[in-house]
Symmetry: C2
Subunit: 73 residues, 2 copies
Amino acid sequence: MAKPPFTNDIRTLRFLAGEMTQGDLGDRVGVTRQTIAAIEQGKYSPSLEVAFRIARCFDKPLEAVFQWSDDAD
Amino acid sequence: MAKPPFTNDIRTLRFLAGEMTQGDLGDRVGVTRQTIAAIEQGKYSPSLEVAFRIARCFDKPLEAVFQWSDDAD
DNA sequence: ACTCTATGTCGAATATTTTTAACATTGAGT
DNA sequence: ACTCAATGTTAAAAATATTCGACATAGAGT
């Protein structure tokens, strides 16, 4: 289960969005708090659908939440 | 296996990118041609990593390739 | 010290994506 | 008519994401 080649700003965005907890975000996205925790820590690559839903919770474009960071192509 | 709440322009982008075939794109992305075909037809929601790699093949931001289209939320 | 909430983590179960191999169709070129 | 490349499709297996339940820790407030 290799770590994904991108980083994310979920943790920061949660706090900027008024101390939103992992559980809150999970509820709004429709996944569990464990899933949010794992994605936040880059443990795996979420589905595009979940990624979209997270971005929409913050009213941000996808790429404001997830940033590609692979050196290779 | 519900269809994902977004559309994509992969087919168009392939042709704009010089008649790139599903197989070519699959090779560049690192997945099989069947996977490209399934994503192109909206059969399921790819991983964020695959979505990013596809977008990068076309030098486009993710949201130029995949467009959220859910009425709910 | 106690309690609560938020978070980290883990193992096992379930769901979804991706692969592989195979066969069918269509259109272009010869 | 034949061939070949591109695509559609399908079933089964493999890989990966997600859930669920549980337990641990750290910090804030009382």
